[in-house]
C-alpha cells in the first residue's frame, strides 16, 4: 500500500480533470444540510462537510429506482412485457464519503449480492463506483463507529483513503481502482507511477505513515461512546424477542421511519408500478419496517400490528438477526445519524447495551 501527498492547491483541478473518465458524486450543501449527489460540471465536493443528513447508500440503492418500463397499449409491440430501463454504469467516483459509510456498502452487499440471487441494480452500481473516502479527523458526539468494526480511519471498504493534513491530503491507495482515479486526476504520473515526478506529488516516506497513525489515534480517542453486542450473540432469538423491555423502549417511538431512511445499512425496499396513460415504470423504492403497510397481509391480518412490535423488529434485525445470519458483527456502522435525528431521542447505543446486558 502506498501513500501520496496531494497539495490542496491542485486538488480542485485534479477532481475536475478526473471528469474526463468519471462521473463524480460528492457531498454538497442543499439548503441546510449536506447530501451526496452527482456533481454538475464545475461543481466540487465540499470537503469540509461534517456529515450528510441521509447516508450515501443512495449511490447504489437509490430512494427510488426504475427497474423496468412497460407499455399497456395493445397495439404496441411487446405490450405488457417488462423492458429493461436504461442504465448508465460507466465509471464514477464518490469523493469524500466517510470510511464507515463506505463500510456500510459491504453490509448492504451481503443482502443484495449473494450466492443465490444478485440484485443487478445494486451490483452494477457498486462495481462501477470508486470510493475516494475522506477520513474523519474530528468525530462528533454521535459517532460510535469504533464499536462497530469500523472507524473514522477505516480503510477496509475504500479505494483511496484521503487524510486531511494541513495544506494537503495524504492519500492511502488501497486498490488498483483507487490508483486509476488518482491517475485520471493527474495526482500521479501518467503511467501511474507515484514517484513524485509531477508537481504537487511527493514521495511518501515513513513519517507520512506515522502522521496518519497519529491522526487516526487522535480521531478514535475523541469517540467516547461504546456499545457491546457480544452477549446478544450468545442469547437465543426468542429470549431477546420476548424480553420485557420492548414496550418501554418503544414507548417514545413515533414509528416515523427517520432512522430507517437516514441509516446507511437499512436495505428494506418496496416494489411499485406507476402508470401514466398507457406507459409506466416498475420501481424499487426505499421502504421502512416502521410502517404497518410493510407487513400487512391482503386479508388485513398484520403480523406486526402494534407499533412497538415494529420498533422491536428494527433493533432485532440490526443487532440480532443479522449477527446470527451472517456472523459478521451487527448491521450498523455507528455513524450516529439515527441517534442525532430521532425526534424522540431513541438511542440505538442504549438499546444495544440493554439487549446485551438486560433481562
Amino acid at each position: 500500500m502506498k501513500i501520496i501527498k496531494i497539495d490542496k492547491k491542485i486538488w480542485s483541478d485534479g477532481v475536475e480533470k478526473s471528469r474526463d473518465s468519471y462521473r463524480l458524486i460528492g457531498p454538497v450543501k442543499d439548503r441546510e444540510f449536506h447530501q451526496f449527489r452527482e456533481l454538475a460540471k464545475g461543481e466540487q465536493p465540499d470537503m469540509n462537510y461534517k456529515n450528510s443528513r441521509l447516508s450515501p447508500k443512495s449511490i447504489a440503492f437509490p430512494q427510488s429506482e426504475t427497474m423496468f418500463i412497460y407499455d399497456l397499449d395493445e397495439k404496441a409491440e411487446e405490450h405488457h412485457i417488462m423492458q429493461d430501463a436504461e442504465k448508465d454504469y460507466s465509471p464514477r467516483a464518490v469523493i469524500g464519503i466517510r470510511p464507515y459509510d463506505a463500510k456500510a456498502f459491504k453490509i448492504l452487499d451481503l443482502n443484495f449480492n449473494n450466492s443465490d440471487y444478485q440484485d443487478p441494480y445494486w451490483v452494477n452500481a457498486y462495481n462501477c463506483t470508486t470510493f475516494i473516502s475522506l477520513a474523519v479527523n474530528s468525530p462528533d458526539k454521535f459517532d460510535f463507529s469504533t464499536s462497530c468494526a469500523t472507524g473514522p480511519f477505516d480503510d477496509s471498504a475504500v479505494d483511496v483513503l484521503l487524510v486531511d493534513y494541513n495544506d494537503s491530503y495524504l492519500a492511502k491507495i488501497m486498490t488498483d481502482k483507487g490508483l486509476a482515479w488518482l491517475n485520471a486526476a493527474g495526482f500521479t504520473t501518467k503511467n501511474g507511477e507515484i514517484d513524485g515526478a509531477v508537481t504537487g506529488v511527493s514521495e511518501a516516506g515513513e513519517d507520512i505513515y506515522e502522521i496518519i497513525e497519529k491522526l487516526k489515534a487522535d480521531a478514535e480517542s475523541k469517540i467516547r461512546s461504546k456499545i457491546s453486542f457480544d452477549k446478544i450473540k450468545e442469547k437465543s432469538i426468542l429470549d431477546i424477542f420476548n424480553a420485557p423491555f420492548w414496550e418501554d423502549i418503544a414507548f417514545a417511538c413515533l414509528n416515523c421511519g427517520t432512522c430507517t431512511y437516514s441509516c446507511p445499512t437499512c436495505w428494506c425496499f418496496d416494489i411499485q408500478d406507476e402508470t401514466n396513460g398507457r406507459k409506466g415504470i416498475r420501481q424499487k423504492n426505499w421502504d421502512s419496517c416502521m410502517t404497518p403497510l410493510f407487513t400487512v397481509h391482503a386479508t388485513g391480518h398484520n403480523p406486526r400490528h402494534n407499533d412497538w412490535e415494529r420498533t422491536r423488529q428494527r433493533f432485532m434485525h440490526k443487532l440480532k438477526y443479522f449477527q446470527d445470519k451472517y456472523n459478521q458483527g451487527i448491521m450498523c456502522v455507528g455513524c450516529g445519524r439515527c441517534v442525532e435525528q430521532c425526534p424522540a431521542n431513541i438511542d440505538i447505543r442504549n438499546i444495544c447495551n440493554q439487549m446485551n446486558n438486560g433481562e
Binding site: H80, M82, T295
Partner: protein, 281 residues
C-alpha cells in the same frame, strides 16, 4: 447477469371459476418463450410472483405439478388490488411470472415415508401440486402410504373437485374429504372441521410418517394439538407459511420471522424450526 426481478412473459391460456362463490379462479399460463418454461423448472411447494404490469405482483403457490407440462397453474383468491384485477383478466391477456421462488416440501427426505397431507380452504393449491406429483406413476413407488385430509366450508368451496373425486376412487391414496357443513342429503364424505377429522383418520405417528399442513391460521392452530396428541414429533410436522412479500428473493426485508425470510428460507418449515422463531406470521 440474470435479473431476478424480471418476469417471464406469459399468456393466460385458461381461466376456470374454482368455487361456488366465484371468489377463486384457476389460471393456466403458457410461457411466450418456450425456453422460459425450462428456466421455470419447479418443485411442489414452491411459489411464484404473478406480475401484472401497472398493478403489481402477488406471491401465489404453484398449483400445477412439475409432472404437468406445457403450462403452469395457479388458483387465486380475489382479495386485494392485484388479485381483483387478475380476476377481471381474459384468456389471451399477457402478463408475467417470476420464479420459481422459495423452498419446497422436502421430497428427498420424504422418500420411503408415509405422508399425511392436511389442507384447508384455498391453501390446497401447493398440496394439489404435491398430490399430483406423488401420484405420477414413476413417483408413486418412491413414497409409502399417503393420506389426505382436505376440508372446506361447503362442498361448493372444495377446490379441484373433479380430481378429488378421481383420487377418492384410487387405492394408492386415502382421501378424506370434509366440509364444515352441508345441506346435501347425498353428501357421502365427512362433515366436521379438519382437526376433528384428522384425529379420526390420521395414520399413527412413527418415525416414518410425516405430516404436511397448509391452511388458514385457525386450522393450523387447532390441528397442531391434534398431531401432538397423536404423537407426531415436531420435526415430522411440515408447514407452509405466508407473509406479505415483494421481492420473493430474500432482499426486500418484510417477510422475516426472526432471521428466516419466509420467501427464501421458506415458505416450508418444520414445526421444530418454527418453535425457534418469533411467530410473526
Amino acid at each position: 447477469m440474470h435479473n431476478p426481478y424480471k418476469p417471464y412473459p406469459v399468456r393466460i391460456d385458461d381461466i376456470q371459476i374454482a368455487t361456488e362463490d366465484k371468489s377463486l379462479r384457476t389460471f393456466k399460463f403458457v410461457f411466450l418463450d418456450p425456453e422460459d418454461e425450462e428456466r421455470f423448472a419447479y418443485k411442489s411447494g414452491q411459489f411464484a410472483e404473478l406480475s401484472i404490469p401497472g398493478q403489481g405482483e402477488i406471491p401465489i403457490g404453484i398449483a400445477s405439478s412439475p409432472t404437468e407440462k406445457g403450462f403452469v397453474m395457479f388458483t387465486v383468491f380475489r382479495t386485494g388490488k392485484v388479485t381483483s384485477y387478475l380476476h377481471e383478466m381474459k384468456v389471451g391477456d399477457i402478463m408475467g411470472i417470476r420464479g420459481p421462488l422459495g423452498n419446497w416440501y422436502p421430497w428427498d427426505k420424504l422418500e420411503g415415508k408415509n405422508i399425511l397431507i392436511i389442507g384447508g380452504g384455498f391453501a390446497f393449491t401447493t398440496l394439489r401440486s404435491s398430490i399430483k406429483m406423488v401420484l405420477d406413476p414413476p413417483n408413486r413407488k418412491k413414497f409409502g402410504k399417503i393420506d389426505v385430509v382436505y376440508g372446506a366450508r361447503t362442498p361448493g368451496m372444495l377446490l379441484y373437485k373433479e380430481e378429488l373425486m378421481e383420487w377418492e376412487k384410487r387405492d394408492d391414496i386415502n382421501i378424506h374429504i370434509t366440509v364444515d357443513s352441508t345441506n346435501d342429503p347425498n353428501w357421502k364424505y365427512h362433515t366436521g372441521f379438519v382437526p376433528t377429522i384428522t384425529e379420526k383418520v390420521a395414520p399413527p405417528a412413527d418415525n416414518d410418517t410425516y405430516a404436511i399442513i397448509c391452511g388458514p391460521p385457525i386450522m393450523i392452530k387447532f390441528t397442531q394439538p391434534v398431531l401432538d396428541k397423536l404423537g407426531y414429533e415436531h420435526d415430522h410436522i411440515i408447514m407452509s407459511l405466508e407473509n406479505r412479500m415483494k421481492c420473493g428473493i430474500g432482499m426486500c426485508g418484510r417477510c422475516n420471522i426472526g432471521k428466516e425470510l419466509v420467501c427464501k428460507d421458506g415458505p416450508v418449515f418444520t414445526l421444530e424450526q418454527l418453535n425457534k422463531t418469533p411467530r410473526e406470521y
